[in-house]
């Protein structure tokens, strides 16, 4: 579904990503890990159109997306949830969800159903649906940010560090929600720092180092591969 081939990208004239390829098909979760500064966020932003790749292809169902503006890419069905639980603070919870529907205009019925679904997964959002988003806690804001993406029903969801600034205990219910979402046929890519907490929910994993793919593997083997890598480095 999402097919990224030999992507190069950076900021200004400084290259960050080199020759990164990845795929994500409907129904599966790809977990991306790597140190801070390795280029994970840059990768997410390059795929979603926030910085233009200098070379390489981003294909959604075979259709090239590279070079398009981020809002156009979102309209095509590829949705990035930015890190740091970013919502529109001066809009109510419900209006925040409404903004999410910008990427699927004209489907009122589907929107209402999606909102009901979000409310049933995160009842706190329903409880507080008239309040300003700025008055939510960080965890609730992250739920809202995901809910906003959910109502758009994208084909591909990119999720940058859903755990950022949250208590670790909040992460499992969010990951469980993403898992269920993926099983409904969406392709999901998660960038996460808490690899061990996230890996059980993912199908495949990929580690990025200094702008390049270090390795990818089934998520269940991630722990072993990381240990292997560390031993190798310590020996070297």
């Amino acid at each position: 579904m999402l097919d990224v081939r030999n992507l190069y990208a950076g900021y200004g004239i400084v290259p960050v990503l080199e020759d990164v390829s990845l795929t994500a098909s409907g129904g599966e979760i790809l977990l991306i890990g790597g140190e801070n500064g390795a280029g994970k966020s840059t990768l997410m932003r390059a795929i979603a159109g926030f910085n233009k790749p200098t070379a390489g292809d981003v294909l959604l169902d075979g259709k090239p997306l590279q070079g398009m503006a981020p809002e156009a890419i979102a309209q095509q069905g590829l949705r990035l949830v930015l890190d740091g639980h970013r919502v529109f603070p001066e809009l109510s919870v419900y209006d925040n969800l409404r903004m999410g529907a910008a990427a699927r205009r004209g489907d009122r019925e589907g929107f209402g159903k999606a909102v009901e679904e979000i409310y049933s997964v995160f009842p706190i959002l329903k409880e507080r649906h008239r309040q300003y988003a700025r008055d939510l806690s960080g965890g609730q804001q992250q739920m809202l940010a995901l809910g906003q993406a959910f109502v758009a029903q994208p084909k591909v969801l990119l999720c940058d560090e859903p755990s950022m600034g949250l208590a670790q205990a909040l992460l499992p219910p969010i990951l469980a929600f993403l898992r269920k979402w993926a099983e409904a046929g969406t392709a999901i890519v998660i960038v996460e720092q808490h690899l061990s907490v996230t890996a059980p929910y993912a199908d495949r994993a990929m580690i990025i180092e200094r702008g390049k793919v270090r390795f990818s593997c089934p998520a269940s083997e991630l722990d072993d591969r990381l240990k292997e890598m560390e031993t190798a480095e310590t020996d070297a």
Binding site: Y11, G12, I13, V14, P15, V16, G33, G34, E35, N36, G37, A38, D83, G84, P89, R134, D135, L136, S137, G138, Q141, E161, S163, M164, G165, L166, A167, Q168, E192, Q193, H194, L195, S196, A199, I207, R210, L222, D223, L226, M229, E230, E233
Partner: protein, 596 residues
């Protein structure tokens, strides 16, 4: 990697580097252009062109100061015509109406211009950006109104005529003293701009204009920089006003309406913002073209100014000179990969005579510190003690509050409750520049790199921020860095290397307490090893206190004396590395977490 290898290789092998900044050649070309247009008409005896270029050269000088204000200080002023007008009018009033000597009248005129500059500069202490644009534009509208209304002093619409025949007498080669004066002054203005730009003050102004946050962490007060820039520009432009008087021999309110201010501003944009030659080319295009080449369409003048500027902004945002300059610079750009900036070659120059150990004295102490952003608590009831001379590792997941804590300690954000002390001084409510001047230096996660500066100047802003005396080995280090990097561009550095530049900047600042925000992110293994050595050196040989926010746990455990772990804004563990490693709160960070 042997030290001498890298230095020698780049010394011997590389061809002569292309000049990083073309300011100096541009100044010389500018001098030549002004000399030709200023003197040649006199040699040829063409009085029309003599007179025209007298005025043009005065306007060029005014535009040079506009350029300085616009780019070096980052301030958009639409009121420089007012300053020039104040200089001219007040001189005219005292010289022409009250029979003061010209020198005396000019001195009063200059004082008036400086006062006008103060009027702009006062709000600049508090605000910037478009606010000052509106203040200066208002002044440009009000000024001619006042000249009309205050006719008791200004002669109102009739204006003031003056005669100064002695300045127009030929003294040889067809030149008059006035011609020489008005040609030499813009040349002088070019040099003034050039030397301010190369001075400590000029660098600090530019840093403040580009990144107020970065400036404050170097102890610079951005408001004060803006204030100073407005005053300097006012004095320079006021002198233009004084020269205007004998050149035109007449002042009237119509001569100083908004249009005049627009000419200076638009000339800088069209010529090329920040380029030394920009104001010269700009005035030629914006002023000469409509006034002389299209003299039959005087009423279309403003329309032409407007369109020229709009088209320039949309199509050639760098202006005429800037577009050429960019083309030149692009030809010379070449990256040096991982070799572009290394610190190891310079470590040996710091001999550091002492061997320090962390002392029992407290460098930083935080008590009950809490910082909230809306409902989100970034730092929650934090107690933290950092001993003098120690390397204090601060670790935790992204978003756990480490950077928020660093921002509080460097004064960039303020605690909602609680307090902290630096070197025994209460610092909770101190501004960032005050804290920086107490000897605190920091780096940022997104490094503050100034592409307008060469790589060496990027480092030198650290030296500019020094508060104490410098050691001789620090001077030696500075000289070595200057020799190596004075013609290099900082723009091509990778993010990792940019972090190293910031690290080196704090070293040159000779801060006694250094806060590093994820300095190793994006560095290779060998660069990391070098960085570890550097931090160790800073602490042990130079006795500096280091707080190190870092995700590379191996690196932290390798060099830290004390480690503090944050989670959700709280401190969950703190102590010596061995003890902290055993802490259950930390254990899970190791499992599969090193890559996080």
């Amino acid at each position: 990697m042997a030290v001498s290898d890298t230095v020698a290789a780049s010394d011997a092998g590389a061809p002569r580097k292309q000049r990083f900044s073309s300011d100096l050649p541009q100044v010389w070309i500018g001098m030549a252009l002004i000399a030709v247009t200023g003197f040649l008409p006199s040699f040829l005896g063409n009085s029309y062109w003599v007179h025209t270029f007298q005025l043009v050269n005065i306007y060029i000088a005014a535009a040079i100061f506009q350029n300085f204000l616009f780019v070096d200080a980052g301030q958009k002023s639409f009121g420089q015509g007012v300053i020039l007008g104040l200089g001219a009018y007040v001189t005219a009033i005292f010289f022409g109406l009250h029979d003061y000597s010209f020198a005396m009248a000019a001195a009063i005129g200059l004082g008036a211009a400086a006062l006008g500059g103060l009027l702009f500069a006062l709000p600049a202490l508090r605000v910037q950006y478009f606010h000052l644009g509106f203040v200066t534009l208002s002044a440009a509208i009000v000024f001619p109104q006042l000249l009309m209304t205050l006719d008791r002093w200004t002669n109102g619409i009739n204006g003031i005529s003056v005669e100064m025949p002695e300045l127009h007498h030929e003294i040889g080669l067809g030149l008059s003293p006035l011609t020489i004066l008005v040609a030499v002054y813009p040349m002088l203005a070019l040099w003034v701009h050039y030397f301010i730009r190369r001075s400590r003050l000029g660098r600090q102004m530019r840093v403040a204009a580009i990144s107020p946050e970065g400036a404050r962490s170097l102890g610079i007060k951005p408001g004060l920089m803006r204030f100073t820039a407005f005053v300097i520009a006012a004095i320079g432009t006021g002198i233009c006003g004084i020269l205007y008087l004998p050149t035109v021999a007449f002042v009237s309110p119509q001569g100083f309406n908004v249009e005049l201010s627009f000419v200076f501003f638009f000339a800088v944009v069209v010529g090329g913002r920040g380029q030394m030659l920009g104001p010269i080319i700009g005035i030629w295009i914006v002023f000469i073209l409509p006034n002389i080449a299209l003299a039959g369409f005087v009423e279309y003048r403003l329309l032409i100014y407007g369109f020229l500027t709009l088209v320039t902004v949309i199509l050639f945002p760098d202006g005429v000179v800037g577009t050429i300059e960019r083309w030149r610079a692009r030809r010379g750009v070449a990256g040096r990969g991982e070799q572009a900036f290394r610190v190891d070659a310079f470590l040996d120059r710091l001999k550091g005579d002492r061997v320090a150990e962390p002392s029992g004295n407290v460098a930083i102490e935080v008590r009950g510190g809490t910082k909230k952003f809306g409902e989100v608590i970034a730092v929650n009831e934090v107690d933290l003690t950092v001993r003098e001379g120690e390397i204090h590792g601060l670790i935790g997941a992204n978003g756990s509050g480490k950077t928020s804590l660093l921002n509080v300690l460097s004064g960039l954000s303020r605690l909602d409750s609680g307090s902290f002390v630096i070197n025994g001084r209460e610092a909770t409510r101190l501004a960032a520049d005050r804290i920086a001047n107490m000897g605190v230096g920091r780096t940022f996660q997104t490094p503050r790199i100034y592409p307008q500066f060469s790589l060496w100047e990027n480092l030198k802003v650290g030296m500019d921020a020094r508060t104490g005396d410098t050691g001789s080995d620090m001077d030696a280090l500075a000289r070595a860095l200057e020799q190596e990097f004075s013609e290099d561009s900082a723009e091509l550095l990778s993010h990792g290397q940019r972090r190293l530049v910031e690290v080196m900047r704090t070293v040159l600042k000779e801060a006694s307490i250094i806060l590093f925000d994820e300095p190793a992110a994006g560095l290779s293994q060998s660069e990391r090893a070098n960085f570890s050595r550097l931090v160790r050196f800073l602490s042990r040989q130079m006795g500096k206190t280091v707080i190190l926010v870092e995700h590379d746990l191996d690196l932290v455990w390798g060099i830290a004396d004390t480690i503090t772990v944050m989670e959700q804004g709280r401190i969950v563990a703190s102590g010596n590395p061995e003890a902290v490693a055993e802490d259950p709160a930390v254990q899970h960070m190791f499992i599969g977490g090193r890559r996080a």
